[in-house]
Point group: C2
Chain length 323, copies 2
């Protein structure tokens, strides 16, 4: 008799298999390989709908807290589809005895972001579980958005460029440093990508945020969606020196580390310098990291000084476990 | 320093205060006293958006499981606003070690309802928490719907009739019987109110489902929304004999017991017999239970053989605790 294992919640292959095994009525919604589902609402617009639950430990970490993740994660999923976020739902599940001031701090974080970016928290729910039946707090945010054109990657052709908006893995390293009491200046990269997306929306064909499962998960989904191989130059993949130090020290995989405020996008070669320039105005580590190849194996290939290797979809328990 | 208490998750006054204390950007969404938020999307239609997390213990109970609640709860919240459900999101948070076959059974339940009522599960998420950090499983469902006219209760006038679609409290008693190993034939009343709502949609002005906090919570919200007193005849409030027996035996309040497949609606006196007849075709305990009074105290009054008393909004820890 099987039991649910931690690896089934890590954002890798097992979770996709678990989800795809569900035989639900889907109607006219589509969401292959994307975090949001899309529905044509018959007036020239598409409704975009997404959900995510946040179980981060620790709840407070350098540069942010679970409230940042719950707001940014869902907003960014809507933005990646090219949608304007219309509103979020906010559902708290709280352990009895959780301190009021912590809940207030989390809520203030969400309120501040909601007001700053004018993205409404439209509806909510609160449940309290008996002490010992939940560790601290879980937050679910779902989101709805509208767009006249979905960023669905269908227009991608060989020769298109792959761009990352900033250094990878800062969120994961911030969490790790807090958990292991390791001294570092790295703080979470979590942020709503509203301004970044607004600045490049008309220039790109497809975008994803490398959250759970990191760059490896995002790019493999993109390769499957486009049908082409994606070829990266390892030397161009951006990461802060302090992040690289922690990665080397712990022997973990930079490409599987979660970022919560970065995007990977694909655009024509012609637009690529313009996209790069605009993204650099937000983060000077933005970088063109690779090219869409004319090979339809749907693989992600990394070119290094020693040759080529495949960057696989993360499987099993992703290290470090951060959600 | 305050701590979160169980009463703050019981669907009563404390939860409303907790939610209303959040200072979020709301944009053009409205949702006063209703479980769903409403947004005019400028093409003659309104988007309806709702969220709910389900933490029921036991996960399996007479007549259903947490999957029934997660599907029906959110679908019914959309239906009560007069909306056609467009799709649900489904987010599982699962304890490591939870048995596969239980997860399959819950998922099959949701799949069966989704296919039967042609309501899509559009998008989803799965998280797994380490053993001991969560008790079994939590499910969040959010839902989106569309309607050309919202059932917002604005047209309610004194003399309108209040109708309940069937016996109260069967869901709560089914849960209690399982928890205390008490022998009863009562099973949960949980069901999507799709057919009921379709049959009376054009005849009614306002509707609510008496879930968490029961009839008392639903009617007090309705009184606040309409601005009028709602006056009920106790003798007309329907409950199965077995439910009444358990209520008397345990000394609990029938009006605060959750039903998951009932609705309370308000319609003109002229339409009331037609609404009653149609609801009776689904449940022969459907009953006209009261009248909208020409008094603007926003209170719920119950007339009994001994006189009148107020039915207050539930406060504190609702007995029995079922979510």
């Amino acid at each position: 008799m099987g039991k649910i294992s931690l690896s089934q919640g890590s954002g890798g292959k097992e979770m996709m298999e678990l989800i795809e095994s569900f035989k639900f009525f889907r109607g006219k919604w589509t969401n292959s390989y994307d975090d949001s589902a899309i529905l044509d609402i018959s007036d020239g617009r598409f409704l975009v709908f997404t959900t995510d639950s946040f179980i981060v430990d620790p709840v407070f970490f350098p540069g942010g807290n679970i409230g940042d993740l719950a707001f940014c994660g869902t907003v960014n999923d809507l933005l990646m589809m090219g949608a304007k976020p219309l509103g979020l739902s906010l559902s708290y599940i709280i352990e009895e005895g959780f301190e009021d001031f912590k809940l207030s701090k989390i809520t203030e974080t969400i309120g501040r972001l909601s007001n700053k970016y004018k993205i409404p928290v439209a509806t909510g729910d609160t449940k309290v579980m008996e002490k010992g039946k939940l560790d601290k707090i879980v937050i679910n945010t779902s989101g709805v958005g509208l767009t006249e054109s979905v960023l669905d990657g269908n227009a991608i052709v060989p020769g298109d460029k792959i761009i990352i908006s900033g250094g990878l893995g800062e969120h994961a390293v911030a969490l790790l440093s807090k958990r292991f009491d390791y001294e570092t200046d790295i703080i979470t990269d979590s942020r709503p990508l509203v301004d970044e997306m607004n600045s490049i929306r008309e220039l790109i064909k497809y975008a994803k945020d490398p959250t759970r499962g990191g760059l490896a998960s995002a790019l493999n989904d993109m390769a499957k969606k486009t049908g082409f191989n994606l070829v990266l130059n390892e030397i161009d993949i951006p990461a802060k020196k302090e992040v690289q130090t922690v990665v080397d020290m712990l022997g973990i995989n930079l490409y599987e580390l979660a970022s919560e405020g970065r995007m990977v996008c694909i655009c024509s070669e012609q637009n690529s310098m313009k996209v790069l320039d605009r993204l650099k105005s937000f983060n000077d580590q933005a970088s063109i990291v690779g090219t869409v190849a004319n090979i339809t194996d749907k693989k992600v290939i990394v070119k290094t000084s020693l040759g080529k290797r495949i960057m696989p979809t993360p499987t099993g328990r992703i290290v470090p476990r951060i959600c």
